[in-house]
């Protein structure tokens, strides 16, 4: 199991160090704090908007999940505001890029 093999299936997984309990992002087999092997667990898929902008009619948002992981995702509905709570509705890999589709909670 790897982050990407799960992401291909549409699952957002989180790498967490079995020893120091740190979330490892970007996902890796080894902890970037202590080099211990990580365990994979299901991600919460909920977080908040840190910042956003808009290209054409599409909002792209910098979001934070579990107070640690930051990614840029596309807002599929609603108007974002900084600090708003969001959830990841859909994620995966498209044309060699990760994608995250989010909406307001």
């Amino acid at each position: 199991m790897t982050f990407e093999s799960e992401l291909y299936k549409g699952n957002f997984t989180i790498a967490e160090c079995d020893k120091c309990k740190k979330i490892v992002w970007p996902p890796s087999e080894f902890c970037n704090n202590c080099f211990n092997q990580v365990i994979w667990r299901k991600g919460a898929c909920e977080g908040k908007i840190i910042e956003f902008s808009k290209k054409n009619n599409e909002y792209f948002c910098l979001i934070e999940i579990e107070n640690h992981i930051k990614v840029i995702g596309k807002m599929t509905s609603g108007i974002p505001i900084e600090g708003n709570k969001i959830k990841i509705d859909k994620c995966g890999i498209r044309e060699n890029n990760y994608f995250f589709e989010i909406s307001l909670i």
């Binding site: 902008s53 910098l62 990614v71 840029i72």
Partner: protein, 369 residues
């Protein structure tokens, strides 16, 4: 530690030409040799090439095409701050005694693959630099109540200044209205807020104190170096309205030079996008947080060329691997009083700020007469 100086330089016109990378490297190297009569090919101990181009073995290729057989030859890639990082490597070779004279040549093509960091999957589908620039711009505007009209001053100033730079890509000055009405890329970014990737080359010759005197009567000394890498991924930045790596690098460089930022008379800062200029000025310490645009407005209205005299990246163009070297050449010319219509009066101490990938890493140099 012995002093390391800048003995000579050569630069090409920045353009959208479809030139081979090897030709661009050779052109600025030839100009450097043409302007350095006492320089023999045998003097050069190391040839360092700064580029993000995918071609292989470019330092050996440039050496062969220039008739140089150096002891040391290799390329250096670090996205947009490849140029200053190569200069730091050259400095280190000389300071350690492994080399006495080093040629650093940077070049890029307009279609460089270095513009996009494919590895950074935390950007999702939004890997083009306009997306991190939009996030920076939005965060900066929100935190400090800055408007698009105010930010347009950066582009107006730098295009204006670049008209006195014979090597610049920009061919005209723009009004604030033209900048604000230029093509909207995102809600927070217009086309004229951006520097343009282009084709260009820049070469610089570094040497020990004794050797410098052989090539020039007017050497410029590198007295401060600061480098800092916070991460590779954009989303790992702790703040989106300031540049943390720049703060560290500037502090280190100024400490090494034993100067305060207030002693700096002229600087090139990395204005990849308009918002980067006030952020850089604040992070280096030229002004307080949120006050960068006040400083830029004053410089623009008084026609003071202190910041980005060659037009910065927005006015001069941004051939990634050549940019840091071109910035360093500009400050060298300023300190040698050779900057013609761009000359900042009585410039004695200069600073170069060069950064990569949304300021995830920065390099700062302090130069002196």
């Amino acid at each position: 530690m012995s002093k390391v100086g800048i003995a000579s330089y050569g630069i090409t016109k920045f353009s959208m030409e479809d030139s081979k990378i090897e030709s661009v490297l050779l052109e600025s190297t030839k100009k450097l040799f043409d302007d350095t009569p006492n320089l023999s090919r045998k003097d050069i101990d190391a040839v360092l090439v700064s580029t993000n181009n995918n071609s292989k073995y470019l330092s050996a290729i440039l050496s062969e095409m220039s008739g140089i057989e150096p002891k040391i030859a290799h390329s250096i890639e670090s996205l947009c701050n490849s140029g200053t990082n190569s200069i730091v490597s050259a400095y280190s070779y000389i300071a350690s005694g492994l080399a006495d004279v080093v040629l650093v040549s940077g070049a890029e093509r307009y279609d460089s693959t270095g513009q996009i960091l494919e590895w950074d999957n935390s950007r999702g589908e939004f890997k083009h630099p306009i997306f991190w620039a939009s996030i920076f711009t939005k965060a900066y505007k929100r935190e400090f109540s800055i408007t698009d009209e105010q930010l347009a001053l950066v582009s107006a100033k730098n295009h204006k200044q670049s008209q006195h730079n014979p090597y610049a890509l920009s061919k005209k000055v723009y009004s604030l209205k033209e900048i604000i009405n230029s093509k909207k890329l995102t809600d927070d970014l217009r086309l004229l807020d951006c520097s343009r990737p282009c084709t260009g080359g820049a070469s610089i010759l570094l040497a020990s104190e004794d050797s410098c005197k052989k090539f020039t009567d007017n050497p410029i000394w590198i007295t401060g170096i600061g480098q800092k890498t916070m991460s590779a991924g954009f989303t790992k930045n702790m703040a989106f309205s300031s540049m943390e790596s720049t703060q560290y690098a500037a502090l280190s460089a100024l400490k090494m030079s034993k100067h305060s930022v207030m002693d700096v008379n002229v600087a090139e800062v990395h204005d990849a996008f308009a918002v980067c200029e006030p952020m850089a000025l604040e992070s280096i310490g030229f002004t307080d947080k949120g006050k960068g645009m006040d400083m830029i407005k004053e410089l623009h209205t008084t026609n003071n060329f202190k910041i980005n005299p060659r037009g910065g990246l927005i006015g001069a163009g941004h051939p990634l691997g050549a940019t840091g070297i071109a910035q360093t050449i500009e400050i060298t010319q300023q300190l040698q009083s050779n900057a013609e219509k761009r000359q900042v009066e009585n410039a004695k101490i200069g600073l170069v700020h060069n950064m990569s990938a949304a300021a995830t890493s920065s390099t700062v140099l302090v130069l002196e007469r």
